[in-house]
Amino acid sequence: MSATGIGAAVRRKEDQRFITGKGQYTDDINRPGQAYAYFLRSPHAHATIKKIDAKAALAMPGVIAVLTGDDLAADKIGGLICGWMIHSKDGSPMKAGPHPALAQGKVRYVGDHVAVVVAESLAQAKDAAEAVKVDYAELKAVVDPAAAQKNGAPQVHDVSSDNTVYQWHLGDKAATDAAFKQAKHVTRLDLVNNRLIPNAIEPRAAIGEYDPGTDAYTLYTTSQNPHVARLVLSAFVGIAPEHKLRVIAPDVGGGFGSKIFIYAEETVCTWAAKKVGRPVKWTAERSESFLADAHGRDHVTRAELALDDRGRILGLRVKTIANLGAYLSTFASSVPTYLYAPLLSGQYDIPAIYCEVDGVYTNTAPVDAYRGAGRPEATFVVERLVEVAAREMGLDPAALRKRNYIKKFPHQTPVIMNYDIGNYHASLDKALELADYQNFAKRKRESARRGRLRGIGFSSYIEACGIAPSQAVGSLGAGVGLWESAEVRVNPTGSVEILTGSHSHGQGHETTFAQLVSDRLGIPIEHVTVIHGDTDKVQFGMGTYGSRSGAVGMAAIAKAIDKVIAKGKKVAAHVLEASEGDIEFKDGKFTVAGTDKALGFGDVALQAYIAHKFSGQDLEPGLKEGAFYDPTNFTFPAGMHICEVEVDPQTGVTTIERWTAVDDFGTVINPMIVEGQVHGGVAQGIGQALLEGARYDENGQLVTASFMDYCMPRAGDLPSFTVGMTTTPCPSNPLGIKGCGEAGAIAAPAAVINAITDAVGHEDVAMPATPQVVWRACQKAAQRMAAE
């Protein structure tokens, strides 16, 4: 391993720029003559719009335009789309209501976009927005998805009388029912996977620009996948043909999924730029992010696990109601279906699984993918069930897991997935050792002496990453393929530019991708630049989410590098006057086998461009290659997280005393960056388990609409993490990579809740397990013990 190659903990190249304030975020960009957009948002969760009167607003100083849904319709601008078709059990397609970028006749959640005011300054736009008179007829709202399905509930969209978008299922119902008939023990749980608000540090932003000279648009925006944004805005929304729209996603300050989606604001800014003849800029305020960024999770689940008398799992039955919010966001339909149920087998050999999912409209912000997307929800179901089953049956939770782990690979689960490799015993054993499990009882006694309750919780998580084989996802309803592209441009001086279709918004691609290139081409890491986030530079790409950039994006780069080397060999053969078959490439040198004749990588690059040593008939000049990589399978990162908590029974305050993570991510390019991803993911998972929870009141007002009420995890809420690794290189990935971006967020919630329930006498505890929730559980346990 070289100091900058694969496996080296190279310091992040991009951090110099970020920590010295030299990053270029969308809001840092200002275009000549730009005007400012302010969105007038619905104060009501559900209302019809009878009239919008903008006369007074238009007369205010600095106001350039006030645009509404009627203007969109007049320009034949289409609505936003959901790019994944889900079919119900009965074969019918999902019922998707219209999703105009500005409301047309009706608003469906607080924060819904009613009109946009474009003015010379943001303050003027805000002032004018107050003068826009909107005549609403308020309707009753529904925020609870189960209530939304009931007779007589307010109807969010005309297409679905019971607000149900789909009633989907996966697995074998008959086989699962049969398994439950044979069971000696059945564990039942009612679980809520709490709704989360993403809160990337950089709020969303967009600048739309139109050049009448070329009749072309440019959109600068906070996107995790600029090419998909361009595709949607051109092919579906119809703002401009694809070749007349350039989308630039510059430095982006975190996304966690929330910046995958194509939202109303960037759509409107792009369209409005031509209408007003000025660049139009919008930057969300944090309050807008709370109201109108896609939220995450929000499941209500009844889950049942069937076991034999020795604790072997026979079957799993799950019924989930998923709140999809007021509109179907870009990938909303897939998250509680194909990103969820196929992971319900966890790390276990479960013969029969049946899962039903109802996707439901409510008068709340749209819900879509958020770090982990479906997989945290699945892990929470499986790992809570296994934990409770172990406690109910008087078995050690680690032992019960071991008894049921999959041991042979490849393993076909009853829910689509074919796990290619893993070693779940290894990660469990290592985690037990790192967590000093054998002395837990001693620590528990010591806590008890101080009047504290200590508990330990496990989470054996699995996820499907490397999203995804295009054919496979196509057969499941995806509207796009999920390959990735790369281009390797070698300059005449031997430095290299990598163009990738994935997008970095904090993950450190500029470093890890350069490490791969440095390793493969044997050139210094300083000679490599990574370019992404501009549809004019990178031909096409699917973007970054689902921990896919390493497994899919880097695989594409590796493929392109192989082509560069192959071409380099041809060049070298001409220069060294040897046959191409005799040229070897190693450590940055082309050599003639068995001789000391050699050419450095830079020399070959120069020769490729000056083209003096070969004729155009024999070989094309230049050294630049591209590749598309389509994975052959999902990848399956997995591991074991162990959480140890202490609870103050008098107040219900939980403190996390120890955290042990042992993950199997396959090949690791940069262990420091990977560890950072684990830390961040675990922090978010702990946030979900202990602190975060979006709440709407019954009228559909978001109660947790600021950081004063919505609690994000802070450093002080977190322990120092112990992070370990076990490795089974991924056989279905050319680099052996599985992916690491979401693992922590997937594993953590179940580990925390399992630990708290262990501490408080196995009472169920809902997320977020706030002090009040935990205190009540302590009270209940005390009452139960007194009664027993």
């Binding site: 805000k126 107050e130 008098q650 602190l691 004063m708 009420d709 609690c711 706030t770 009040q772 205190w775």
Partner: protein
């Protein structure tokens, strides 16, 4: 934010004159409450009188058996003051638990008291310690100053200049912070001075800070955490919100009061 005229007086007199002269004016101290409400367009004063240029309003002094703190003194300065730490350590500890470093370095005691947020910390200290709020016009005992939710005895044209805290023989503040905002979900300030004992509760009361008579009586008999065992605070009249309902708050008042007394008696 709406447009407003900005004034920066150099002396208390100038400030008082301005307040009398200009229409619809608001005093600006640390701005940590006022500015967010203005940004959200919930407040729209025509004039802002910034108190930050008035040196005489800030500072901490020991005056006989009292500590006197200027209205414009930042929470961080109270927390770090050797005078406060020596004379009333519980007050320094309280200031050190307000919000986060940004809030502590801008927010002021005068602004906090004038605002009388039901979840603010200082009102509990003022009541428990028997503080006197001094304005440009008069001296108001804390008991009479906090009149209700975000309501005080301050009259038009009145500016808080100082707060005087008599020295207790024993005192402690125990705060249970709201995990999101870090304001008090429940905060209990216990103080003993001579034969008098006061127990003041913030964060919990629907009308703001209040005293718990039953606890005070019990502690007068014997100043020990044991004296509080079995004393239940009724949940009626307490706040219920998404973070804590009234029952839980009532329970926390008991826990925090016992811990405060333990702390004040050095038994924590």
């Amino acid at each position: 934010m709406y447009a407003f005229d900005y004034h920066r007086p150099k002396s208390l007199r100038q400030a008082v004159n301005l307040l009398a002269k200009v229409e619809d004016a608001k005093l600006l101290a640390g701005g940590h409450t006022l500015l967010p409400t203005m940004k959200q367009r919930l407040a729209a004063p025509a004039n802002i009188i910034d108190l930050n240029g008035i040196a005489e309003l800030a500072g901490i002094e020991r005056k006989g058996r009292a500590v006197v703190i200027g209205a414009m003194t930042r929470h961080a300065d109270v927390a770090e003051s050797p005078i406060v730490q020596e004379a009333i350590p519980a007050l320094a500890e309280l200031a050190d638990q307000i919000g986060d470093p940004q809030v502590r370095n801008r927010g002021t005691i005068g602004g906090s008291i004038a605002n009388n947020d039901p979840a603010a910390d200082y009102p509990a200290a003022c009541i428990a310690l028997g503080a006197t709020i001094i304005t440009n016009k008069r001296k108001v005992p804390a008991e009479e100053f906090f009149t209700g939710l975000f309501e005080t005895a301050l009259e038009e044209g009145e500016i808080i200049t100082r707060v005087s805290f008599p020295l207790p023989s024993k005192a402690a503040y125990m705060k249970f912070p709201n995990p999101a905002s870090r304001y008090a979900l429940v905060g209990v300030f216990v103080a003993k001075r001579g034969a008098e004992v006061r127990v003041a509760v913030t964060g919990a009361g629907a009308d703001g800070v209040f005293r718990v008579g039953a606890m005070e009586e019990a502690l007068k008999a014997r100043f020990s955490p044991k004296s509080l065992e079995g004393i239940k605070v009724p949940s009626k009249g307490l706040n219920s919100d998404i973070h804590a309902d009234a029952d839980y708050r009532a329970h926390l008042i008991g826990v925090m009061a016992r811990r405060a007394v333990a702390n004040a008696t050095g038994k924590a």
